[in-house]
């Protein structure tokens, strides 16, 4: 996706020259700063082993020559091993036909269940179970196959004579997860990835039933200790329920090493001497971003009102504009700051309210005033202090816009990026992965929900944690405040009743693109449901179980009354205004009926209450479609949007950051950009540029490119059919990722 050219009010003077020139510069800068050239892999080039080896300090990158040589050797060994393994697999193929003739009288029985303290007796339904014999000459014989039932139980008949054949050396039962892939023509194939293999003594098979008993698998377990629904991952490399596809890690290695090396150099220099580099030097080392590019060609333009309004509407923030009662074409935006959340006293994070004039037609918003509530310097502590700035305020207006941009940056990162896309999507990913296997919704939904749990796990350390994470150390929010905020946000989000942002005028490209994408997704899903209706109904139990998991693990509903109960005076006012912010930002509908669990209303609505489709409510069919649309929409378009625009909108330290420091001046953050004591310190500065490059410039897995063949090509076709319309909103369909994985 990328921004779109600007259109300004014709009555306004054009201080930056001919509007067409401005448009073309804007467009060129977007094009120039977008791609990160793919690096050729040479023998002695630094390497990175995977996303989870990244760190805001020292990532685990092999840079020294002996290390690189060793790494090459290891890679060579790995390659040989893989080749041999592949060759071996070809040599000992696994037949699809079952060996045996008489399947009466003997069977393997058992039950698949979750593992662990909270889940150990809970059955896992519809897991693939196979019984395999290995011959003395290392061939495979398929002895039995099937799926566990709703209650996790399975019974697979096998031929006793075939199993006890003297040709067979050993026998094992295999429990697998099911995955689906598509070829270019949309033909689906199924494959199984082994979760557990249980050896069975051949002499134990003596006919009748042989009981494998409860097979406990720690498959997509919820974290028992978490404030929000998250998947339990103790060891990312060995015990995670999923893995990044190879291409994902390769994309990082290929695209990101140059940026990683810049940061490594900076961190090393700054750890030796904190003043070794200036912000300008740091900025200059990184590839240019949208604002530095524009600034180089149109000085001052990136700080202009036009650019400000444009980015607030169609940039990373993509703000929600609320019409002001009784005032035509005037809209207000609230960006809620630190009030009510745990924070430090180093960085500013005031609440900002911005009024815009948005004329009908192809016009960008024009900022009219910015009201800032809360501390702006180290010398004030009143969180209620209000100050309003106007375009006529000269330098102060520029400074107020910078504060507003930085507040917007942090809000976008925390509320929109982390909460709304990453962890919000993860809760759907867990519930879907726990329950979808045979229902066609599996191959509709899962490709869009993979890898999010892995990247969230990495984000916990890299962005969220107080000790090692970036946000608590480079912004006003502490880890505690962050978690509180994320939980509040999740309490406001529900798949039911979600609609894309209403379009305000022709220039509202974000909303128009979002609506277009939503409509296409819905069309794709409707078509899919029509084609697969019989099987979706037949395996309705999976939908029921997914719905149960979704509701019972979702955070408590952000209930207005419960939230405000017992509060008075200022506390009531703050809580009430904060609630309004959330309600508006996420279009929360308090009247929407949601599910409940443990006697407490939950944020999410149930999809269905019936285990069997015959007993389901007539609305449940539509509910399921709506939920699928919501999950796909959030995991793809919404995430791609906010993720990709980070580099544009927080890729220049002095333009915007996650938090301006109060500094030492009595005016605090209301000071010129030249005062570097209010900008992030050099270490935070290089880290910020590092991760904005990391997140925005190492994307992988577009829906239309479908590099892993997991997305139904029909979705890509539908998007491609609307390519021109998307382009007119500044969105490249080939850049919309199929999943949230960075």
């Amino acid at each position: 996706m990328s921004g779109k050219h600007l259109t300004h009010d014709n009555d306004q003077p054009a201080p930056y020259g001919d509007p067409d020139t401005v448009h073309s510069i804007y467009r060129e800068c977007i094009e120039e700063t977008k791609p990160v050239p793919t690096r050729e892999r040479t023998f002695l080039a630094p390497r990175l082993k995977g996303i989870h080896h990244l760190d805001i300090g020292y990532s685990k990158v092999v840079t020294a020559s002996p290390g690189m040589i060793l790494d090459n050797l290891y890679n060579f060994y790995d390659g040989v091993k893989d080749t041999l393994h592949e060759w071996w697999l070809r040599l000992c193929p696994r037949p699809t036909a079952i060996t045996g003739t008489d399947f009466r009288g003997s069977s393997i029985v058992g039950r698949t269940t979750y593992a662990g303290r909270h889940d150990h007796d809970k059955p896992i339904h519809h897991l693939r179970v196979e019984l395999w014999g290995r011959t003395w000459w290392l061939g495979w014989r398929r002895l039995a196959e099937g799926y566990s039932g709703f209650d996790g139980r399975f019974e697979l008949p096998y031929d006793l004579r075939a199993a006890r054949s003297s040709a067979i050396r050993k026998i094992r039962a295999e429990i697998s997860q099911t995955t689906y892939r598509f070829d270019r023509h949309g033909n689906r194939s199924r494959s199984f990835s082994l979760a557990v293999a249980l050896p069975i003594k051949k002499s134990d098979l003596v006919g009748m039933r042989y009981d494998l008993r409860d097979i406990q698998i720690e498959l997509w377990c919820y974290r028992p200790d978490c404030y929000i629904p998250r998947v339990k991952i103790d060891d990312l490399q060995h015990e995670a329920p999923e893995k990044y596809v190879e291409g994902r890690n390769e994309a990082i290695t290929d695209q990101f090493i140059p940026v990683e090396l810049i940061k490594l150099k900076h961190v090393t220099m700054l750890r030796a001497d904190p003043n070794a580099l200036t912000i300008e030097e740091i900025q200059a080392d990184y590839p240019p971003n949208l604002t530095t590019c524009i600034e180089a060609r149109l000085p001052g333009y990136s700080r202009s009102d036009e650019f400000f309004g444009e980015r607030m509407m169609n940039g990373m923030n993509a703000l929600t504009f609320e019409p002001i009662d009784g005032e035509e074409h005037r809209y207000r935006v609230v960006n809620w700051g630190y009030q009510g959340y745990d924070h430090n006293n180093v960085y500013a994070f005031p609440t900002t309210e911005m009024d815009f004039e948005i004329l009908p037609g192809d016009h960008a918003p024009r900022p009219l005033q910015i009201t800032i509530t809360g501390a702006l310097s180290a010398f004030e502590h009143d969180p209620d202090q209000k100050r309003t700035f106007y375009p006529t305020d000269g330098e102060r207006w520029l400074q107020a816009k910078r504060v507003a941009r930085s507040v917007g940056g942090l809000i976008s990162e925390v509320d929109d990026h982390f909460a709304r896309t990453h962890v919000n999507v993860e809760q759907y990913a867990i519930a879907a992965n726990r329950n979808l296997r045979l229902n066609p919704v599996t191959w509709l939904l899962l490709p869009h929900l993979k890898e999010v749990s892995l990247i969230d796990h990495t984000a916990d350390r890299m962005l969220i944690s107080q000790e090692a994470g970036y946000i608590p150390r480079a912004s006003a929010l502490t880890e505690k405040g962050l978690k509180h905020r994320v939980r509040d946000a999740l309490g406001m989000m529900n798949w039911k009743g979600y609609r894309p942002m209403p379009v305000i005028n022709d220039h509202h490209y974000y909303a128009r693109a979002e609506n277009l994408f939503w409509d296409i997704t819905y069309e794709y899903i409707s078509e899919f449901f029509e084609h697969n209706a019989a099987d979706i109904r037949a395996y309705w139990y999976e939908i029921f179980a997914m719905s149960e998991d979704l509701v019972s693990h979702s955070v408590p509903a952000f209930d207005r009354e419960a939230h405000l109960r017992g509060l008075e005076g200022r506390a009531y006012e703050v809580a009430s205004r904060r609630l309004n912010y959330w309600t508006t930002r996420f279009d929360h509908q308090p009247q929407m009926p949601t599910g409940s669990y443990g006697g407490e209303p939950r944020a999410l609505s149930p999809i269905t209450q019936a285990k069997d489709f015959a007993q389901a409510d007539p609305d449940d069919w539509e509910n399921l479609k709506e939920m699928c649309c919501y999950a796909i929409h959030h995991a793809t378009f919404l995430h791609s949007w906010v993720n990709e625009h980070q580099h544009d909108d927080i890729g220049e330290v002095l333009y915007s950051c996650l938090g301006l420091r109060f500094g030492e001046h009595p005016d605090g953050v209301m000071h010129p950009e030249s005062d570097h004591r209010i900008a992030p310190d050099p270490l935070r500065a290089t880290q910020m540029l590092w991760w904005s490059n990391l997140l925005s410039r190492t994307e992988y897995g577009a829906i239309t490119k479908n590099p892993d063949g997991d997305v139904n090509p029909r979705f890509g076709e539908l998007l491609k059919a609307h390519e021109a319309e998307f382009r007119s909103y500044g969105v490249l369909v080939d850049n919309i990722e199929s999943r949230t994985n960075i």
Binding site: R104, G105, V109, L160, R161, R164, S203, D204, V206, G207, M208, R209, Y210, D211, R213
Partner: protein, 385 residues
């Protein structure tokens, strides 16, 4: 026309023949090795039967009934009467009060060994194992300790577990009120020369006698635990005492019943599975003979009394088995156990009979205990005169 086709056809026939030959050879070796091992290591050295050491024998008569529902067989001629000997036992443990399987064996003669017709039966309509292979697993996984056994077996084989739940009896009031089943079918070739299969069972002669000792809402996890419960007032010999007392007061009467089915050409092997009772609607039980038991034997005679599956007319004998997985292999194994009986009787002759089970507190025990001998020995100095 089709040389290849013919070749493959003969090839297949040969392969099948070889496979059958191998299967039968394995069965023969297993049966022989097993019987010889039991004979040597249990019977000859330890005076042990396979499992039912703890029993009481008794004598009486058996009279074949005139039941037109049963196709005529020359051995079961109506009104034919035999002297008979039976033996009731508790499996495995030398303690009547354990939660255990009880048995009844009948021979149609009052001899400790020889007889024209023997039946060996246990409580429960289903068994705990179903083939020679499964029986070997059963034996291997017994792992008995202090009255707990077969835990691993039950965990692996749920059918074995459900068989146990059905067969175990907890504190039955008397051997005489239980139902005993043969479970494995036998041949039945009557005067009409039609091949039939037969299953036998014994029930109390008095209709409506309540069967005691059936497990009430059993916990599958507790089935391996056959231990005598705390506070159980029953002693180690209570069932044998009860039976002896009962016979002193009068006779004990039973009915032998038979279930028959005509053999078919394409028989489903599952009909031979002793874990799957035949449908009583289709194959009803018919009264075959009446038993009247009048006198109990003492411990020595009870020990001597031995039953053998081979003691049967050929037309009523065991169904031939093909492999260790064949359900009929169980009787094939039993038929090979004669050597073990002889080894045990030889041991009795050479070294005497096993000691009677004492009424002591050594509960849940399954090995012979030597009783204390009275030494009549003094270490006091003789008084000085």
């Amino acid at each position: 026309m089709n040389t290849t086709h013919q070749q493959s056809w003969t090839g297949e026939l040969l392969a099948d023949w070889l496979r059958r030959g191998k299967d039968f050879a394995v069965l023969w070796v297993v049966a022989k090795v097993f019987a010889f091992s039991v004979a040597l290591f249990a019977s000859l050295m330890l005076k042990r039967r396979m499992s039912h050491d703890n029993g009481i024998a008794a004598r009486g008569t058996v009279r074949i009934l005139d039941n037109p529902a049963i196709p005529l067989h020359r051995f079961f001629l109506p009104e034919r009467t035999f002297p008979c000997r039976i033996r009731h036992a508790t499996a495995t443990f030398l303690d009547d009060a354990v939660k255990g399987i009880r048995s009844m064996s009948i021979k149609f003669s009052d001899d400790h060994l020889e007889s024209p017709f023997d039946l060996q039966m246990n409580t429960g309509e289903r068994s705990l194992f179903w083939s020679a292979a499964s029986f070997l697993q059963f034996a291997r996984l017994r792992k008995q300790k202090w009255g707990v056994e077969y835990r691993d077996y039950y965990r692996k084989y749920p059918d074995g577990l459900s068989g146990a739940i059905e067969a175990l009896r907890e504190n039955p009031e008397s051997f005489s009120d239980l139902r005993y089943y043969c479970k494995t079918p036998f041949l039945y070739i009557g005067e009409d020369h039609t091949l039939r299969y037969a299953k036998y069972r014994v029930v109390p002669a008095k209709m409506g006698t309540r069967e005691t000792g059936i497990l009430q809402s059993p916990d599958p996890l507790e089935i391996p635990n056959q231990r005598v419960a705390a506070h159980n007032p029953n002693g180690r010999n209570y069932l044998k005492y009860e039976y002896r007392d009962r016979l002193e007061k009068g006779s004990v009467n039973y009915l032998i019943q038979i279930q028959l089915r005509t053999a078919a050409a394409d028989e489903d092997p599952e009909i031979f599975n002793n874990m799957k009772p035949w449908d009583e609607e289709i194959h009803p039980w018919h009264d075959l003979a009446e038993i009247e038991i009048t006198e109990a034997y003492d411990w020595v005679e009870s020990c001597k009394t031995t039953f053998h599956v081979g003691n049967m007319p050929e037309t009523l004998g065991a169904i031939p088995a093909k492999s260790i997985h064949d359900y009929n292999s169980l009787n094939y194994m039993r038929a090979h156990s004669a050597i073990a009986h002889k080894a045990r009787l030889l041991n009795y002759r050479l070294f005497g009979y096993p000691p009677e089970i004492p009424d002591n507190d050594n509960r849940n025990w399954s090995d012979w205990e030597k009783p204390h001998r009275i030494l009549n020995r003094s270490y006091d100095l003789p008084p000085k005169n």
